[in-house]
Subunit: 267 residues, 2 copies
Amino acid sequence: VRPSRRALSVSQDRLTEKTFLADLGLATAPFAAVADDGELALALAEIGLPAILKTRRLGYDGKGQARIDRAEDAHAALAAMQGAPAILEGVVAFTREISVIAARDLAGDVAAYDPGENAHRDGILRRTTVPARLSAWERADSALIAGKILNALEYAGVLGVELFVTPQGLLVNEIAPRVHNSGHWTQAGCAVDQFEQHIRAIAGWPLGDGTRHSDVVMENLIGEEVSGVLELARKPEVSIHLYGKGTARPGRKMGHVNRVTGPAHRP
Amino acid sequence: VRPSRRALSVSQDRLTEKTFLADLGLATAPFAAVADDGELALALAEIGLPAILKTRRLGYDGKGQARIDRAEDAHAALAAMQGAPAILEGVVAFTREISVIAARDLAGDVAAYDPGENAHRDGILRRTTVPARLSAWERADSALIAGKILNALEYAGVLGVELFVTPQGLLVNEIAPRVHNSGHWTQAGCAVDQFEQHIRAIAGWPLGDGTRHSDVVMENLIGEEVSGVLELARKPEVSIHLYGKGTARPGRKMGHVNRVTGPAHRP
């Protein structure tokens, strides 16, 4: 099975994941495991306010999370977890969010795409813009971080790493052991997109080198936005990807569009 | 049914197709219907040597064709058709072969991709290079020809037009009422590729405008060439498309690779 069970078990539990990252020497938001009100009080004392309480497992798109701005919100936030094991994370003052999509093949070779800059709303990814606004140092560091994670997991396949850009450097927010929404721009920007890259990686093929030929803005179609897809299709250089989901519930990712914004420029 | 039955019936018979094109005022190689040795002799007298005898239906990749270089080859060529209705076509002295992939939507709007330059071997397409080496006049004419054909057929969908470039202008060789092998480069060179374009055209969506963001060389993997696919995958900017066919028989198209050769330049 590729990626391995270990990659899944590390990343499907926020506490295991954060511990794994910290053990690798990578910076993350401060975190602490929380099982009851007493542990939550201790964790808040250590991490400070504001903080975010999250279920350790099964959260995505902002689900299973509660922000704690005041100490008196703590009990209600934990109660909302309904007994699920939780983790408290400090809120990071970041200037932007980026993600790196990278791959490791069976021979241990690694290739990373250029980082994309992510914009979220209501905890859901709305837009990824490539290239991200980053210093050369941040750009290089993001690829090194992704490589370190891939190697530590002896990973095979494509993996997404979400990072916070802060004045003190890059912090790892989350790893996703799979092709990732924030990597869909590669469909329009690279000869070898993240889907082909994943197949190459797990099938014993050489990896694409991650070169970007075009700048791209990827926008998710969330809920009822999908009804505007014909208007979007009218714009030049826009390609459409619909997921064939039946009902456009609020917050549901129904598809995405990639817009080629020009030949690749290297900031 | 889109494209219509008419588009299919016109293009599946070489005589009907050539007649249709001639009626539109488009230049083709000289041609004549051939049912027996007597008609073949008359046709050869009119068209001259060398000429190519083809079955009217069901030929592709050079199958069902026989070249006639000398009058004494004529009888054997016709006998090889085994009684199938045939057409004699003059051999055109062309400088290069190109094809235009174009689409027409339900509203009658038309969009054409830049022409690709085709290289054949043994009657099989080996390589399409975009942009083709063409004068501005030839480039414009190729799109006008495609548009004329699409409109005359009241076509919906993507269609490929193969053209000969000659000192006297463009000659239409063949039309293919479908996405076409020589349009596979659009997968790597355009935001909206010929497959998405076809779906847009027949589903009542607006067409992509055919803009090319990158220059591309598409190469077919024919027969045993497919076994070299790992070497090809090692090259940067190469994306791989395999068709999942079981046996790599000689002449069988097993897949293709697209190589992005740079940002689009407009010759």
